[in-house]
């Protein structure tokens, strides 16, 4: 079975990873959003598990959240209520958007099977006082992970974890760079599945698989790559269906600035003999999250992606009621449209109403 198929298999049933990891009593810690440092969880000998959603309609969560909260967060809460995250020994959130902040309140009150903790992070980047504040929060978080796992986190084990995770980021970026060419080596949907599988897997297993995959696809060329090159951005997409939709309509998804792809591996940790300080600067010396400031940073970063992957059109997939990206797409629209046509679309996380979406995407691609 080729590596791409292995990745797809892991993406489709992550429970295999969990069973294998928990076989000898090791713990799993769920986390949501980028300011929860996986390296600290890993250094304590536990598996950091990124909680992704499932494209199912909402069942119980609408009676707790009003239906005007972002559907991705409601879907996570639905899964938590159904005990689908029962295997987690702890769930860790952080301070990003209003919906995640409320998820902390709701989880704390209504989900008793898995305890919930929140890492408080500043939303202002490049700010010395912010580094100090975040450092204190991470020290507390480190202690909590030590108590949960019963293992001590030493500078050594933390440095090793940082190296391991940076290796995964480098490999993912290398794989992603293979899409810069006129005919990309890997399609958008294949890449998303690979990126998410690598995020789910223990990194010890992911890195060799990624090296093998890079060799396999190095001089591969995907079919029908003559369409316009598209940059996908917007709310979190944790299912390849939307990307496949763009590709079916003739678009080449050259790069995606999503929480489940480029945002995860675009930067690596700068060398620093104090590992905790390295983690603080890794998270706070860049603006990737749409909730954070200064947002001009995100604009320059998008320009960089447009140039490097010579993008012809940008599509914003905004989940309904996802405030950060609904604002960003409105604010950036005028500036972006001077160089690259931009299409902003409203999507449901449960992927309903694809008929409407197909017409809009196909018209956009016909226009480019």
């Amino acid at each position: 079975m080729g590596t791409l198929e292995t990745m797809k298999d892991i993406f489709d049933n992550p429970n295999k990873i969990i069973e294998e990891w928990k076989k000898d009593g090791r713990k799993v810690v769920g986390h949501r959003c980028m300011y929860v440092p996986e390296e600290i969880i890993h250094a304590a000998g536990m598996l950091p598990y990124p909680t992704f959603g499932t494209p199912e309609p909402i069942k119980k969560a609408d009676s707790y959240f009003q239906p005007c909260a972002c559907e991705f967060v409601r879907n996570l809460f639905d899964l938590a209520l159904d005990k689908k995250f029962g295997f987690l020994d702890s769930m860790v959130l952080c301070n990003t958007c209003d919906a995640v902040r409320h998820l902390y309140n709701m989880w704390d009150t209504y989900v008793d099977s898995v305890p919930c903790y929140m890492v408080n992070n500043p939303q202002k980047m490049y700010d010395e006082s912010g580094f100090k504040f975040y450092r204190m929060e991470l020290e507390k978080f480190k202690k909590l992970m030590e108590d949960l796992s019963g293992n001590k986190i030493t500078d050594e084990s933390l440095k090793k974890s940082i190296e391991l995770y940076d290796e995964t980021r480098k490999l993912l970026k290398e794989l992603n760079d293979l899409r810069k060419r006129d005919i990309p080596a890997i399609s958008g949907s294949e890449f998303l599945v690979t990126s998410m599988a690598s995020m789910l897997m223990p990194k010890e297993k992911a890195n060799p698989l990624l090296r093998k995959l890079i060799d396999e696809v190095k001089n591969r060329e995907i079919k029908n790559a003559d369409g316009p090159r598209i940059l996908l951005t917007g709310s979190i997409i944790d299912n390849p269906t939307l990307i496949e939709l763009v590709e079916d309509m003739g678009g080449v998804v050259a790069v995606d600035d999503l929480c489940t792809s480029a945002k995860y591996f675009w930067y690596t940790t700068k060398p620093n003999n104090d590992p905790m300080d390295a983690i603080v600067r890794f998270n706070l010396e860049r603006t990737l999250c749409a909730c954070a400031h200064p947002s001009e940073d995100r604009y320059d970063y998008l320009q960089e992606l447009i140039r490097e992957f010579n993008v012809d059109g940008i599509i914003y997939f905004n989940i309904k009621y996802c405030h950060p990206f609904v604002y960003e797409s409105a604010i950036f629209r005028k500036k972006l449209e001077e160089e690259v046509p931009t299409l902003t679309l409203e999507v449901d996380h449960s992927l309903s109403g694809l008929g409407q979406l197909k017409t809009r995407v196909q018209a956009f691609i016909e226009m480019l």
Partner: protein, 257 residues
């Protein structure tokens, strides 16, 4: 002691004549544009059916969105209070009632003595259950009454996920274009409405013995789907659409005594 109960709904008007504790006669007809005229027609028909005249009726109760436009002097009560009285009349030991009407649906929870403890109305996005069903019947070229049975003969479970009935309509239209079998689409429609109703019931933690009333309660497909999704025991009274009007009659009698 003869009392009458009028439920002037936005889509259908229902009138009931109550003799002591027995329903003598009832009438259900479309409201149309003029509520006053529809109520008068319904009252005349029901009086004729019961073989009595207006003077014999000692007190009249009215409820529904058009209760202020009823052309008779009547005791006015909200749908929530009248649905409760009507449901408890049939089933004194029930824990709550769900009213699925033409325009919107309501879930009401009451305690052991029958006091209203909590209630929830559907939010704006999920309104128009009845109109949505009629529109789908037209689009699928199926008689509204048969929709229920047909939805039970579905071969596959498909999802109509959107809450908003306009968007659910466009989802169904695209399914029709994709030649999805009619029964499966109907199954999807009924599951979509049922999950909205269950969402409402969950909002007030409604469980136990629940009475399903309202015009749409006669749809066997919907009630079966509700049974699947809700872990409580559902009962449908034999004339579900007049329970609200019955409640209004009981209210009028109570105020008279």
């Amino acid at each position: 002691m003869l009392t009458a109960g009028i439920d002037a709904g936005s889509l259908s008007t229902k009138v009931v004549i109550l003799n002591q504790d027995k329903i003598m006669a009832y009438e259900v007809l479309a409201t149309g544009i003029d509520i006053g005229a529809a109520t008068k027609r319904a009252m005349d028909n029901v009086l004729e059916k019961a073989g009595i005249s207006l003077q014999d009726v000692e007190s009249i109760g009215s409820t529904g969105v058009g209760k202020k436009k009823v052309p008779y002097k009547s005791v006015q009560g909200t749908e929530v209070v009248c649905d409760t009285k009507g449901a408890l009349y049939f089933y004194p030991k029930s824990n709550g009632v769900i009213d699925i009407g033409g325009e919107n649906c309501r879930a009401i929870k009451f305690d052991a003595e029958g006091n209203i403890v909590d209630f929830a109305l559907n939010d704006k996005c999920a309104s128009g259950t009845g109109i949505f069903l009629d529109a789908m019947a037209k689009a699928l070229r199926v008689k509204p009454e048969e929709m229920g049975e047909l939805s039970l003969q579905s071969t596959e479970d498909i999802e109509v996920t959107s809450m908003c009935s306009v968007f659910a309509e466009s989802e169904v239209v695209s399914m029709i274009h994709r030649k999805v079998p009619k029964n499966n689409i109907l199954r999807g429609i009924h599951k979509s409405i049922a999950s909205r109703v269950v969402g409402l019931a969950n909002r007030i933690l409604l469980e136990g013995n629940v009475i399903i009333i309202g015009g749409i309660a006669k749809n066997i497909g919907l009630v079966t789907t509700l049974n699947e999704l809700m872990n409580s025991e559902l009962t449908v009274p034999e004339k579900p659409e007049v329970v609200g009007a019955l409640g209004a009659a009981l209210l009028a009698r109570e105020r008279k005594e």
